[in-house]
């Protein structure tokens, strides 16, 4: 993460500012607010009165700003007023490549406990006693069945941390943890809910859990967690926002929970079925995204327009194009990015797509290119994932092929 957010006055620093990998922290001056403040929809939904604590499923294209927006949500004053917020990234505490719903639930319980205790607060002694009892019952079983439990000693915090470490570690120990906990799942959920209730009564606030990076597991595992174990993961009695992979967000099975789905759209740059139209507002927003990172003089205006078009309204893609273009300008001893630099970036991205697209993908892309309609969600899951197809929303949802591919697909 860049420690400093300085608007670049030369292309060298601009190159650095367009680093595409890291989400922005809350309150970063690099942040741009989208039209309609889509985050507010989620925020308002959270702040509304609910009879039962809602679970939201949050998704968006790779690089569209999900983590950045979640960081902002967690820092929002209104949200903090109403909620005790527990935010964590599942990739930091679990192995996202081998993740199941037991791990997810366990991580929720562990993070609730750890983050609350770490904020200097205390749970009531009766609850601690209950948790200790539960901990012993689990350790006892794991001692009988394995020898690893010998490493677990000390308080609950250590217990949670070491159990998480074991979930994250190699397959055998993880499997044992799951095997111990899974048959006693109602126990685990019960303990999670006791912790939530205790925090809520202590703080006089609701509990909100924000889980980032749950869109990282592979599709099959995500399906297992979000379809097959949906009942289990919606059991905790707090508000939860789960990130989910885009490819399952648009599947048939997932439409069942429509009302709690929340999608962070890409920035629309043109209207459906009219690639020549120009959404001025979208272009303004993306120029702001660029000019928050470097001075306007560093790029010619036609080059700017092309960079925005080719970035497809996805922040990370735009950053990638700008970074390659800056690199190209520096290489050619220019102190300003010109159209040729952006075209080079466009060619590079197109040629990377050509490597990963299969023959049959072109048929699908052609159809989408023609009428911007979604033909069979099952076919485009993979294409949405690799960004060759992008989804846009205004009054209706539509999609288009990645702009670097339009020419190729049309002439194919």
């Amino acid at each position: 993460m860049p420690e400093e957010f300085i608007i670049a006055e030369d292309l060298d620093l601009a190159w650095s500012n367009f680093e595409p990998f890291y989400p922005l922290p809350a309150n970063s001056p690099f942040h741009v607010e989208r039209k309609g403040k889509p985050l507010n929809i989620l925020k308002r939904a959270l702040l509304r009165q609910h009879r039962q604590s809602p679970k939201y499923f949050f998704s968006g294209h790779r690089g569209c700003g999900k983590s950045t927006e979640l960081n902002r949500l967690a820092a929002d004053a209104e949200v903090n007023e109403k909620f005790f917020i527990v935010k964590y990234s599942v990739k930091e505490i679990c192995d996202v490549n081998n993740l199941n719903y037991v791990d997810v639930l366990f991580s929720i319980g562990a993070q609730l406990y750890i983050q609350y205790i770490d904020s200097g607060k205390k749970l009531k002694p009766e609850l601690i006693e209950q948790l200790e009892g539960w901990k012993h019952s689990i350790e006892k079983i794991s001692e009988e069945e394995t020898s690893i439990a010998a490493t677990v000693e000390g308080g609950l915090r250590t217990f949670f941390l070491s159990a998480l470490a074991r979930i994250r570690a190699e397959d055998t120990t993880r499997k044992m943890i799951r095997e111990i906990i899974e048959p006693r799942l109602s126990d685990l959920i019960d303990k999670i809910n006791l912790i939530i209730a205790n925090i809520e009564s202590n703080e006089n606030k609701k509990v909100l859990v924000l889980i980032d990076d749950l869109d990282k597991p592979r599709l099959e595992q995500a399906k297992e967690i979000f379809y097959n174990s949906q009942t289990a993961i919606t059991q905790p009695i707090c508000h939860i926002v789960y990130t989910v992979p885009i490819s399952i967000y648009f599947t048939q099975e997932f439409t069942a929970i429509r009302e709690s789905k929340f999608f962070l759209p890409n920035v629309k740059l043109h209207s459906r079925n009219d690639r020549n139209s120009k959404d001025e507002e979208g272009y303004r927003l993306m120029s702001q995204f660029i000019f928050n990172r470097m001075k306007a003089e560093l790029i010619q205006s036609n080059a700017l327009d092309l960079a925005i078009t080719m970035g497809a309204g996805v922040f990370r893609e735009t950053a990638r194009i700008m970074q390659i273009a800056a690199d190209s300008a520096i290489e050619n001893d220019r102190n300003q990015i010109i159209e040729e630099d952006v075209k080079r970036a466009e060619r590079e991205i197109r040629s990377d797509f050509r490597r990963i697209l299969k023959t049959e993908d072109y048929t699908t892309l052609k159809e989408i290119c023609k009428d911007n309609d979604i033909h069979g969600i099952e076919k485009i899951g993979r294409l949405l994932h690799n960004l060759s197809v992008l989804e846009y929303m205004n009054d209706e949802t539509w999609c288009d092929v990645h702009p670097t591919l339009v020419e190729l697909v049309e002439n194919d």
């Binding site: 190159w15 650095s16 680093e19 290489e331 040629s351």
Partner: protein, 501 residues
């Protein structure tokens, strides 16, 4: 500094290059070097791919970049992906501010290396790792497809796909020109594209263009584009004759025979095989002789002259036994099994298959092991032992799936469909047919696709779902017409009449 362009010629155009102005190689060398130097200055992670075709060019480019880095106090550390499959952990354990990793031999680390990269990609970013992955086109495509999330983290791909001049380039070129084993249809198509481009660039006919023509013929044969295969083999034949390379003449004649045989022109195929046979005997090339004899056997069997077929297979068998060619021996035994099966001597056929199976297992020839298992299944099926047949088909299926042998997998699935239909389990049969259909389409085998569609039509017709049956028959007919397969066309017309009446 890299010597100016004189040392290199640009030989291969990649997809991208058809539209791109190609920068001089020095510019690309400094692009990569400067990227790393800047990434170091700002403490950024860098995932860079350097694409190359020739090891010689790679070595030269790498040396230049090392020098650039060295001047800036950066050190390039080579990693062999075959040795350290968990590259992210390797990076984390060795990463230092001044270190740039050069990753080699990715293919040797596949598929585990791909999994680690995809799973632990964030670790690479978090540790601010600067790495250059030296990859071939094939490796990069696999990374893009099998480690897509890692690939999405790339910063840039820089291409160094020129070929070194003259003597240095030759081993690379020959290897590329001869390569005909690819994993997927897309790879075959891509290779054809590159080879055709390279062929155009080689102005005069020489040894390499001969190799290219030959392997293009083989690739088109794999795509079932037999006419195109014949065109290329004929050109290869001309060059081989001009150059007086009798061995290549013999091979080309044999390949022409196979292509004509696949077009159903068996007599013509036999002519070519006999010419190839004569040359092999003249050269004393036993491998070619065995192949020609075996192919003659197959051709005569296709003509229905099974006794003659058996004679040829026995001669081929004798040669392979004489020269200890176990693989050839197995194939001859299996072919004899096929011939006896054709004659209705199922037990004798089974004996041969069993012998062939033993050899295939012994030499680890999984492909043929699958085939003979499947044929034993067929033999049981001929004897009316359908359950036993199913057992063998399933074994064949398992092997084909294990080794990714799509051809055998498709056949096994199709035969399982037939077997279940014979048991009256039509729904189950349909399931298998459909899987077989998918594979036929995947490997672009139009003939098999037509057959599967006919079978599906039959099955639905059996279930009384006439509309669905007609739909499949019509799709089959389209293909039958396209590939001019009289069997499918006749079958369709006959069945449509009966179904409509």
């Amino acid at each position: 500094m890299m010597k100016p362009g004189a040392m290199y010629i640009l030989l291969l155009l990649n997809w991208l290059r058809m539209t791109e102005i190609i920068d001089p190689i020095e510019a690309r060398v400094s692009r990569l070097g400067n990227y790393l130097i800047r990434a170091h200055k700002y403490n950024k992670a860098s995932i860079l791919f350097a694409l190359y075709l020739s090891e010689y060019v790679r070595a030269d480019v790498e040396k230049e970049i090392r020098q650039l880095l060295d001047e800036q106090g950066l050190e390039a550390l080579s990693v062999d992906a075959g040795e350290y499959k968990d590259l992210p952990s390797f990076f984390s354990s060795r990463s230092a501010d001044q270190t740039v990793f050069f990753v080699h031999n990715l293919e040797k680390g596949f598929p585990e290396a791909l999994r680690y990269l995809n799973f632990k990609r964030e670790e690479i970013i978090d540790h601010r790792v600067k790495a250059v992955f030296w990859v071939t086109d094939e490796e990069l495509t696999r990374i893009g497809n099998e480690a897509p999330d890692f690939f999405a983290f790339r910063n840039r791909v820089v291409e160094f796909i020129e070929m070194p001049l003259a003597e240095e380039r030759k081993p690379d070129l020959v290897e590329f020109a001869l390569e005909t084993e690819y994993r997927s249809l897309d790879e075959i198509k891509h290779s054809i594209e590159l080879k055709e481009t390279l062929l155009l660039e080689l102005s005069e006919a020489d040894e390499i263009s001969g190799y290219l023509l030959n392997s293009l013929g083989i690739l088109f044969f794999q795509l079932s584009s037999y006419k195109k295969a014949i065109e290329y083999h004929e050109q290869a034949l001309v060059i081989a004759k001009e150059m007086g390379d009798r061995r290549v003449v013999g091979t080309s004649l044999g390949n022409l025979g196979s292509a004509y045989s696949s077009l159903g022109q068996v007599e013509k195929a036999i002519e070519y095989y006999k010419q190839a046979l004569a040359i092999s005997q003249e050269l004393g090339d036993k491998r070619l002789e065995g192949a020609a004899l075996g192919n003659l056997g197959l051709a005569y069997r296709n003509l229905g002259q099974v006794e003659k077929a058996i004679e040829y297979h026995e001669q081929a068998l004798a040669i392979s036994q004489e020269f200890g060619d176990r693989r050839g021996e197995g194939i001859s035994l299996g072919s004899l099994g096929n011939a006896y099966s054709h004659l209705g001597q199922v037990e004798k056929a089974m004996e041969y298959y069993e012998q062939a199976l033993v050899i295939a297992k012994e030499i680890g020839d999984r492909h043929n092991e699958g085939i003979w298992l499947g044929n034993i299944g067929l033999a049981y099926s001929d004897q009316g032992q359908v359950e036993k047949a199913i057992e063998y088909y399933k074994q064949a299926l398992a092997i084909s799936q294990e080794i990714g042998d799509k051809q055998v997998e498709g056949t096994a699935l199709g035969n399982l469909g037939l077997a279940y239909r014979n048991l009256g389990q039509v729904e189950k049969a349909i399931e298998y047919y459909e899987q077989a259909l998918v594979i036929a389409r995947e490997i672009g085998d139009r003939q098999e696709e037509g057959n599967r569609l006919v079978n599906l039509g039959n099955a639905y017709s059996h279930l009384g779902q006439v509309d669905k049956a007609i739909e499949y028959y019509e799709k089959a007919l389209d293909i039958g017409k396209e590939i001019k397969d009289p069997r499918i066309i006749n079958f369709y017309e006959k069945n449509l009449k009966s179904i409509k009446s």
